[in-house]
């Protein structure tokens, strides 16, 4: 295990940012810390980096107790949401910074910086100032800068949060490929469940200073540990007492099978390839989605009577009722 966090707590005044958090982050993988804003995920990342001190608990990085080490002794690479580019230094000098601090020979620095600039496709921008780069380029520069010192772990705090949707998506794919190439243990913070599901090997869901669930993207999506995780990872609707994803609901006509829920269609919305169908049942409104072709085959309209059932092989949505939360619901 690469990063071991044991019983870490952190308060800011009265606000509890982290409440007795323990988690192991595996070596060589890309791990996402996912959760809503103010949930404590950035604080946890900053504690790993040493930019914040835990009030109690212990942090081990690759078997070394880092709890009391200052950030400059931890050998971690940190990438900030707003890039934290050294504005007065050229792209080349930015990337070289960590190596210059380590007093490496000039030739070695030059070679390593060239190699990294090629890796992040910024070779032709080496002599520009950060202010002459776009947001995506600045963030790639920041990544190269963090990787230059061959860090034990690479930490990214909402790395794509300040970029527009298209660049964000490009960089997301690119980060995944970069990680497969460089293979350094990487932890990134995000509040975007799609980003976490798409990029990460493992996801740690953090909310209200506590860990809700740890698992692979499949685990989290198919077997969420509680209602919060289920709601946070994607759209949900309620069928009777059960939470389900709208795309896991089957719409059928006719008498149906035992256990089916009858209802009447109140509204049909088309969003691109997807049909969003609102159905009034005895227990309240339910939303189901179907592809356009499926829906057309059923020959339905507003006012039609239908029955609903959950796709048979879906497990998600059955929780122990000791912790049911409705906060942080995602649309």
């Amino acid at each position: 295990m690469s990063i071991e966090i044991a019983n870490v707590s952190k308060r800011f005044g009265d606000f509890v940012a982290l409440d007795d958090v323990s988690v192991s982050i595996p070596s060589g993988q890309l791990t996402a810390l996912l959760g809503p804003s103010g949930g404590g995920k950035s604080t946890l990342l900053r504690i790993i980096a040493g930019l914040e001190r835990a009030d109690s608990g212990r942090v081990d990085i690759e078997g070394v107790d880092a709890t009391d080490l200052p950030p400059q002794k931890r050998n971690v690479g940190f990438v900030f949401q707003h890039y934290a580019a050294f504005k007065h230094l050229s792209v080349r000098r930015n990337v070289a910074f960590g190596l210059e601090i380590r007093k490496r020979p000039k030739a070695e620095i030059r070679d390593r910086v060239d190699e990294l600039l090629a890796l992040v496709h910024l070779g032709q921008f080496a002599d520009r100032l950060p202010s002459q780069l776009s947001g995506g380029q600045r963030q790639r520069m920041a990544l190269a800068r963090a990787l230059a010192v061959k860090p034990t772990v690479l930490l990214l705090d909402e790395p794509f949060g300040a970029l527009d949707a298209k660049v964000r998506k490009e960089l997301r794919d690119w980060l995944r490929r970069l990680h497969d190439e460089v293979n350094v243990t990487t932890v990134f913070v995000t509040h975007d469940q799609e980003e976490a599901l798409e990029v990460a090997d493992e996801i740690v869901v953090i909310n209200d200073g506590r860990i809700e669930q740890i698992g692979s993207p499949d685990d989290l999506y198919d077997r969420p540990a509680n209602e919060f995780v289920m709601r946070f990872l994607g759209p949900v609707t309620k069928l009777g007492d059960r939470l389900v994803r709208p795309h896991d609901l089957l719409i059928a006509t006719g008498p149906g099978e035992p256990g089916d829920v009858p209802g009447r269609i109140t509204r049909v919305t088309r969003v691109g390839f997807e049909m969003r169908v609102e159905i009034d049942t005895a227990d309240g409104p339910v939303t189901a989605t179907a592809t356009r072709n499926q829906f057309a085959g059923l020959n339905l309209a507003v006012g039609s009577s239908v029955v609903l059932r959950v796709t048979p092989d879906v497990d998600a949505g059955r929780f122990d009722t000791d912790r049911v939360e409705v906060v942080g619901a995602q649309p």
Binding site: L51, Q72, F80, A84, F97
Partner: protein, 276 residues
């Protein structure tokens, strides 16, 4: 920001020109015309007055003394000013707001009060701390150390008030990035923080230098105004003026004003255009 200035510039009604005229007239009557008259009086007899004061050993001594005191005070204020700014912006500690309020005191208190207060503390015979220093061989009041002290006091907030907003705007992330890349506190300061606040420091230094050269009240009280020893350029101006040597007074005043103007011109020339 660029858009906003652009829209303001396009709106040029007659009212704009009226406002401009008022502002320009105000500045001419208050600043430009009086200063220009000093220059005019200085050169009323050609270069005679300037030549006279520059060959008078006492005046030359006073000018040198002014520069020495100002430069010393600026160095002290820059070092402490940057340090206190970092303390105020980057750290949280009890009494921070009190400290911040206290730093404005030198601007709000009359310099003459500053001078009297310093005499009360460091005065050679009756001061609270002065006799002890004097017996250790250090005379503060009626000597150069006291004059530096008074100048440091009155110019204290200038560097801080320039540097604090710049530090706040730059933020902490670049410094944190430097730490995570292995830089220690001093390396981070020298390589990252200092270049980022450079222009704030330069402005603070220029303002402090101008203020220090022109200090009159506090220095007058603590210096004793001894000719050829503790008489600074500003005191020479007053002395000459009171002794009906108007030409000498204007010439010295002109030199003082020129140094201040030169400072500001140099900075505005070397300062790069804002890249943002």
């Amino acid at each position: 920001m660029a858009d906003r200035t652009a829209t303001v510039r396009t709106r040029r009604g007659p009212l704009t020109y009226v406002f401009r005229l008022i502002v320009a007239g105000y500045l001419v009557m208050l600043v430009a015309w009086p200063v220009a008259l000093v220059a005019k009086n200085t050169f009323a007899d050609g270069l005679t007055d300037l030549r006279t004061i520059l060959t008078d050993p006492d005046t030359v001594h006073a000018l040198k003394l002014s520069v020495t005191i100002a430069v010393t005070a600026v160095v002290i204020n820059t070092v402490f000013g940057v340090g206190i700014s970092l303390l105020l912006v980057r750290y949280r500690f009890p009494g921070k707001r009190l400290l911040s309020a206290l730093l404005d005191l030198p601007i709000s208190v009359s310099p003459i009060v500053v001078g009297l207060a310093l005499v009360l503390v460091y005065g050679g015979r009756t001061g609270w701390f002065g006799p002890a220093l004097e017996s250790a061989g250090l005379q503060v009041i009626f000597a150069v150390p006291g004059m530096v002290l008074a100048t440091v006091f009155v110019a204290l907030p200038l560097v801080i008030r320039e540097v604090v907003p710049v530090l706040e705007e730059v933020g902490e992330e670049q410094e944190q990035a430097a730490h995570s890349l292995g830089a220690g506190a001093f390396q981070t300061f020298r390589r990252i923080t200092l270049p980022a606040i450079k222009w704030g420091v330069v402005y603070g230094v220029v303002l402090s230098l101008a203020r220090s050269l022109g200090e009159f009240g506090a220095v007058k009280v603590v210096s004793g105004n001894v000719l050829g020893q503790t008489r600074t350029a500003t005191l020479v101006v007053e002395e000459k003026y009171l002794n009906f040597d108007k030409g000498g007074a204007y010439a010295t005043a002109f030199l003082l004003a020129m140094v201040a103007v030169a400072c500001i011109v140099v900075v505005s020339v070397i300062r790069p255009r804002e890249p943002r």
